[in-house]
């Protein structure tokens, strides 16, 4: 398969770009942030997304979705990254949709997916517990009780957790932290007794929550009890590919703005873009971004093909997006001089979002380590 977008994918990109560019430019994020919007995203825009079929992109047609793949989800994420638009697309349309599709029983799929695809159900994935993403180190206990389980423990960095209608929660039904065996995925109603949700306002003004379970009773299990690690890893990998695509979009946009500034700002009687010190740094960054673009598309294609190498390709893409995205926003701020440090100027917003995306679903170090493990060294 060619490592470029096909015609339908390019059309999808154009329509996403049209919608997001006009309805959710960066001013949209600023407004939500400055007004301390309680939802943290625009429900009206989510409805507009639903009219385009975006929430159900990864949902099968029989459940009201369009049955497309990770490449298409990445196309949308890249556009989201360009304008830093807060959207439940990742939590709901990517992570939860994948978890429910792969792990859900026929009844669960029928119950949730049509509403999700229609834009009427927001869902969030709760995995992280410590400061760093370490899914296998999940310690939160799920203890059998009657026909179900009781959950106790705290999850952090739950994207869209405070507005979710449904939570997908990773917990330990057996084994010790660090082990793959003994992990189970649950579907939890966030309004259930014993579920305490605190919105955590993050540096990037996007949604996240800390959720504490106090012996909360749950009955819905996704996949098999004790054998959820493989399911979880598969879901996380689709999410990682999607976040890498978002980071690519943000890096590209920060870079485009920086190159624009180099052609406009004058010092010493010259455009600053005439200075070779800046030219070479910009050129280096351009090459890094092009490499990142290729790795992200490669990872998404391999995910769609269900290829054995998909895991390694995702590790490469997320790691590369992490280091290159970081470089892109650092260079953006530096090359804008004092302007780059002002809240009024947008480049700082890219820096903040990039820091959050770096931690989201594993940073560059985590994925470098993953790759080394996959390659047995």
């Amino acid at each position: 398969m060619a490592l470029i977008l096909n015609e339908e994918q390019s059309m999808l990109r154009d329509s996403a770009r049209g919608l997001i560019g006009s309805k959710a430019p960066i001013a949209h994020l600023r407004k939500l942030r400055d007004e301390r919007d309680a939802t943290g995203f625009s429900r009206e825009l989510w409805r507009a997304f639903a009219e385009m079929g975006f929430p159900g992109l990864l949902v099968a047609e029989e459940h009201g979705g369009s049955g497309l793949g990770a490449v298409e989800a990445g196309v949308i994420m890249e556009e989201i990254g360009r304008t830093l638009m807060p959207s439940p697309f990742l939590s709901t349309a990517v992570l939860a949709a994948t978890a429910l599709t792969r792990g859900g029983s026929a009844a669960q799929r029928q119950e949730y997916l049509p509403r999700l695809a229609g834009g009427d159900l927001i869902a969030a994935l709760a995995v992280d517990e410590g400061a760093k993403h370490r899914p296998l180190h999940t310690a939160m206990k799920a203890v059998r009780s009657g026909n179900g389980f009781r959950l106790s423990g705290t999850k952090g960095f739950v994207v869209d957790g405070h507005v979710a209608d449904l939570l997908v929660v990773a917990a330990r039904t057996a084994g010790a932290p660090g082990e793959a065996a003994g992990l189970t995925l649950f579907v939890v109603d966030p309004r259930a007794k014993g579920v305490e949700i605190e919105r955590t306002v993050m540096v990037d003004a996007h949604n996240a929550a800390r959720i504490t379970f106090h012996d909360a009773e749950v009955s819905g299990v996704l996949g098999e009890v004790d054998h959820g690690a493989g399911l979880l890893e598969g879901v996380l990998n689709v999410g990682r590919g999607a976040v890498a695509a978002e980071m690519l979009g943000a890096a590209e946009e920060a870079f485009t703005r920086t190159v624009g500034y180099l052609k406009e700002r004058k010092q010493f009687g010259k455009l600053i873009g005439e200075f070779q010190a800046l030219q070479h740094r910009a050129a280096h960054l351009y090459v890094e971004i092009e490499l990142t673009r290729a790795t992200v598309l490669k990872a998404l294609q391999l995910l769609d093909a269900g290829a054995a190498e998909a895991g390694a390709a995702v590790a490469v893409a997320k790691a590369k997006a992490g280091t290159v995205g970081t470089l892109a926003v650092q260079e953006a701020v530096q090359m804008h001089g004092g302007m780059g440090m002002t809240d009024q100027f947008d480049v700082g917003l890219f820096m903040k979002r990039m820091r959050v995306c770096q931690e989201l679903l594993g940073d560059a170090n985590f994925h470098a380590d993953q790759l080394a493990r996959l390659k047995s060294y």
């Binding site: 910009a282 092009e290 673009r293 390694a312």
Partner: protein, 394 residues
């Protein structure tokens, strides 16, 4: 799709049946590369067999037209052949500047007579070419070259000196940049010309490199007579040909690091240093550096694949090979720094049989040239800044 799958399985079966086991081993010595040429010899029987079988299929140059000795494959088929060769770690049957540099330029700018004369001999490994671009005072600023070609009847008389001419002492013919109009602006008075290295007045003098080898020469031209018909493209428009050829050269150099076989560098290092109880390379800092390197290496491979696909779709930026050349060569230097680190003191031996005559150290030193030959990294970044990013005054 069915045809593509069929082609892939045919290729796989053919390679399986025809690529000798010895030709699937990583290349460790210089003789492992077969360059062709009038005076060539094969290092081994398997090398010969492999070369001849591939040549007979036209697969020394799979994407060239059949009438010029190629395999006539389209872009997709060529990619499949490369993938299948990589999958079994098959060596390239023939490596030459004729294939990677001159051939593409002749296909684009050559006359029909020039193509028929030269391409089949390149494909069949009969003639080995060298590149006469750089001069003592024209390196990065190549267009300031001084070697003169003055008309004399239907010939040119060439005088001047080239330097860093790789393998000039082994080459049969040279493709050479000469000044044919010294009054014109520097880019507008250059011609691209071909001649036999046996022509009277051509001499070479090898230069020793830090690797202890001498793969290149000073090359002198003293009243060398060459027919004007040997100019490729128009007289005084040689810079167009030269630049086009450089794009191919850079694409080739950017991929030089990828021939290390299929074994991940981290495993190579673990083999040399050892692993801890958890199977992890027993040098955690080096392990991190190697993983970072492998991420970039995988990313470069993706970018190269994408560049090929973009070219097929007619969407490639012509200067992108400079981007790949920059990244690929810096990466290959990093690979060898890591290999030296993994090898530790064992990698420092220079002469012993145990070290295959200092192969590790010599290879490490050789890679330092990667970011110089074919245009330096700084020059590549300048090209990206100017041609792709359109930065002012670059």
């Amino acid at each position: 799709m069915a045809n593509v799958d069929q082609f892939r399985s045919d290729v796989r079966a053919w390679l399986e049946a025809n690529c000798p086991a010895e030709m699937r081993q990583p290349m460790t010595r210089e003789e492992d590369t077969f360059w062709g040429g009038r005076n060539t010899t094969f290092a081994s029987q398997p090398q010969r067999v492999w070369f001849e079988r591939m040549r007979d299929k036209g697969w020394t140059v799979p994407h060239w037209p059949k009438e010029y000795g190629g395999g006539g494959l389209d872009g997709e088929e060529t990619k499949i052949l490369r993938q299948e060769m990589a999958a079994i770690s098959a060596r390239l049957p023939l490596v030459s500047f004729g294939i990677s540099m001159l051939g593409p330029a002749l296909l684009k700018y050559g006359t029909e007579a020039q193509k028929r004369e030269h391409l089949p001999k390149i494909a069949a490994g009969l003639i080995r070419w060298c590149q006469g671009y750089s001069e003592p005072n024209a390196g990065s600023d190549l267009a300031s070259l001084q070697t003169r070609a003055e008309p004399d009847g239907t010939d040119f008389i060439i005088n001047g000196q080239k330097i860093w001419t790789s393998y000039a002492n082994y080459a049969d013919w040279i493709f050479c940049l000469v000044r044919t109009d010294s009054a014109a602006k520097k880019h507008d008075g250059i011609s691209f010309i071909l001649f036999d290295m046996r022509s009277p007045g051509v001499s070479t003098k090898p230069i020793l490199l830090i690797s202890g080898k001498s793969p290149f020469c000073e090359t002198f031209f003293d009243n060398v007579r060459v027919p004007q018909a040997n100019v490729v493209g128009q007289i005084n428009r040689g810079w167009d040909v030269a630049k086009y050829l450089l794009q191919h050269e850079r694409a080739m150099i950017s991929g030089m690091g990828e021939r290390g076989g299929n074994r991940p560098l981290g495993q190579v290092a673990a083999g040399l240093i050892g692993a801890d109880a958890g199977g992890r390379l027993d040098d955690s800092m080096l392990r991190g550096q190697i993983a970072g390197f492998e991420i970039d290496e995988a990313a470069l491979a993706c970018a190269a694949e994408r560049a090929t696909d973009l070219a097929k779709a007619g969407q490639a930026h012509p200067a992108f090979s400079s981007a790949l050349k920059y990244y690929g060569t810096e990466l290959n230097k990093r690979r060898h720094e890591l290999l030296m680190s993994a090898g530790g003191i064992d990698a420092l031996e220079w002469e012993s049989e145990r070290s295959t005559e200092g192969a590790a150290a010599r290879a490490w030193l050789r890679t330092k040239a990667n970011s110089i030959e074919g245009g330096t990294s700084e020059v590549m970044l300048g090209i990206v800044a100017k041609r792709i990013l359109d930065l002012p005054g670059a």
